[in-house]
Amino acid sequence: MRSNDKITGLVTVTFGVLVITNSRGLANLPQQDYGAGTFPIVIGGLLIAFGGLLTLRGLSSSAPLMVWVNDVPIKRFYLTLLAIIAAIVAYILLVPVVGFPIVSTVLLSLLLYGFYRQNWMLAAGTAVASTAVIWVVFGRLLQVPLELGILEKVVY
């Protein structure tokens, strides 16, 4: 999705304003005119200035506010984006409760089936094998604490 410069410019200006308002309470160093707020205020000011320039450029342009410039149909894009976000959010929320092996296997099975469109058995088989490899490499060899979750009672 491509936006007109006036939208991205206004977002930049808003970001600059937020940076400055959140920096004003920061105290200077003792007996100095500078401190923790100096850099953020300078950066916020520059974001407002350059964001303003971008907005002005957008105002003089006849480009539409938002336009889809991709060969892929927009519906497919949104569905894929939703699938990616849902997979990541599900991973974050479910791994501490259910555990990495089950969450990874289920997510991979769903994603592989959804994107490769072959049979369920192939997707599930690939998901189990891939999860096992990641578990061995990260969980065992690199000692990353990947949660076992509900499998902990089964394993131990």
Binding site: A27, F50, I88, L142
Partner: protein, 500 residues
């Protein structure tokens, strides 16, 4: 000599050699798949390197990136689809050579020139870095402040595209780098009461988000039609390569040196080195009209340049601790987590390690020949892996990788946020390079500024009272002048185009 012998004992061990070969194979695979870049390969490799000693960690990254750049030439020559942006400029030449029945020569040239360019880059790195380090030892916080600012400014100038958007990207990166506890005063900034943000935003989930997740968002919707069938069979990959190399030997040398120098500029990576080298080869060619018709001259120069630029980026990274690109930014991060701070002192205090890194560079480049040969032979199989299978696996790997850096799910949220940001930026022509360099250079610029200002008791003129500092300040001012002039000119052009 002693430090060289010490370096050989560090490098020629089973674990380092095994890591070099494994990382090369990983880089080969990543580079050969269109859409997966060398930077993405590095971002995915970092969670693993965090658990290694400094040398094997750097060896893994050096080998993977060198191989990924070379492997990017395979889909370019066979399918007319560049595997990485660094191969894009000569994709047509290589593909058209294939159409003329010279696919083996095209791929052979890609591999041999990449290897030679890489070796030229290492030689330049070995010669230039210690000389610059001798000079840099005199630097104080004033010079480091200007140098980091100069690096950021260069990143905008050379990142290409819209300079105004480049500046905004850089400013956004600087703002992001301010999140967390201020290193001088200890005050919390922009943490919104979050305990997780007190230590700042970790660089690894940012990199994975910007380079891997955003690419997945862009590529996954079209994954159903990305499976490729390679029809062309490659026979005798290296036949006839020697003669062409001898004929265009100056092109190889020029590409190698040029690539190293361009790679040393912050923000200018292998893709820019490749484009500039191709353009210069065409300018100095006796037969410029043959370029774009399956002529090997531009391919030779650009292949040498893109691999040489990888070595060039290590010059500012090792000498000043200032990264030349996202890959060296990761390297600096890896070294610092191991207690080694890159800078001029490292050439004395860690001389064996520096020599070992150079040796690893040479080995990784020499390995391009046998592994490149195998890659050519196996290209049909690598390219036929369906992206509908590959992309979900990469997504899971990204999540585990982002978590592994600090063992916290908060970093996975950060990865998601930066993935979405990276996608929006790419769709709207905001370059990502200045943002990532600003996230890394922001704390360097601010801490050196504060150190100097405290030292000078608030006197700003102290920043320009030393000859080197004033030279760097003038250079930074000149670059900013160029950025502003270019921004005004492009705004006028865009306004005029939109009115017509």
């Amino acid at each position: 000599m002693d430090s060289f012998l010490a370096a050989t004992t560090l490098v020629f061990t089973w674990d380092v050699m095994l890591i070099v070969i494994s990382a090369s194979v990983f880089g080969l695979f990543m580079g050969a798949i269109p859409g997966l870049t060398a930077t993405m390969a590095t971002a995915l490799l970092v969670p693993v390197t965090f658990f290694m000693e400094p040398l094997p960690a750097i060896a893994a990254i050096v080998s993977a990136t060198a191989m990924a750049i070379v492997a990017g030439d395979l889909p370019g020559a066979l399918l007319r689809m560049p595997g990485t942006p660094a191969s894009a400029v000569y994709t047509d030449e290589a593909y058209l050579m294939g159409k003329q029945g010279k696919i083996g020569v095209a791929l052979g040239l890609n591999i041999v020139c990449s290897m030679l360019g890489g070796i030229i880059g290492v030689v330049c790195l070995a010669m230039l870095a210690p000389l610059i380090a001798d000079f840099a030892i005199k630097f104080t916080s004033d010079e480091y402040f200007w140098l980091a600012l100069l690096g950021l400014s260069c990143a905008i100038l050379v990142s290409g595209g819209d300079r105004l958007k480049g500046v905004i990207s850089m400013l956004a990166g600087l703002a992001i780098s301010m999140v967390g506890m201020d290193s001088v005063s200890g005050q919390a900034r922009f943490t919104m009461g979050s305990y997780d943000l007190l230590a700042g935003i970790s660089i690894l989930p940012v990199l994975i988000g910007l380079f891997a997740i955003s690419e997945l968002i862009r590529r996954m919707p079209e994954s159903h039609n990305l499976q490729q069938e390679v029809q062309t069979r490659v026979k005798k990959p290296f036949a006839g390569v020697g003669g062409l190399l001898w004929k265009y030997k100056f092109g190889v040398a020029r590409g190698g040196v040029l690539g190293t120098l361009i790679g040393a500029l912050p923000g200018a990576g292998a893709d820019i080195a490749s484009w500039i080298s191709y353009a210069i080869a065409r300018k100095f060619s006796r037969s410029p009209e043959k370029f774009g018709t399956g002529h090997p001259e531009g391919l030779i120069s650009a292949s040498s340049a893109n691999n040489a630029s990888l070595s060039g980026a290590y010059i500012p990274a090792l000498v000043f601790g200032i990264p030349g690109d996202a890959i060296t930014a990761i390297i600096i991060g890896v070294l610092m987590t191991k207690g080694i701070t890159p800078g001029p002192d490292v050439f004395v205090s860690e001389a064996p390690l520096v020599n070992a890194i150079l040796l690893v560079f040479i080995i990784a480049n020499l390995l391009l020949l046998p592994l490149g040969f195998l890659a050519i032979k196996g290209a049909r199989h690598i390219l036929s892996i369906p992206s509908g299978v590959l992309f979900p696996l990469i997504l899971i790997f990204c999540m585990v990788g982002a978590f592994a850096a600090n063992n916290t799910m908060f970093d996975v949220w950060i990865m998601l946020a930066f993935g979405l940001l990276g996608y929006v930026m790419a769709e709207n022509d905001f370059p990502v390079g200045p943002l990532i360099l600003a996230v890394i250079l922001g704390p360097i610029i601010e801490s050196n500024f504060m150190r100097s200002i405290i030292k000078a008791n608030g006197d700003l003129t102290a920043f320009v009272d030393r000859p080197i500092a004033i030279t760097l300040a003038v250079a930074a001012a000149l670059i900013w002048g160029m950025i502003v002039a270019n921004g005004i000119a492009s705004s006028r052009t865009k306004s005029r185009l939109s009115f017509n």
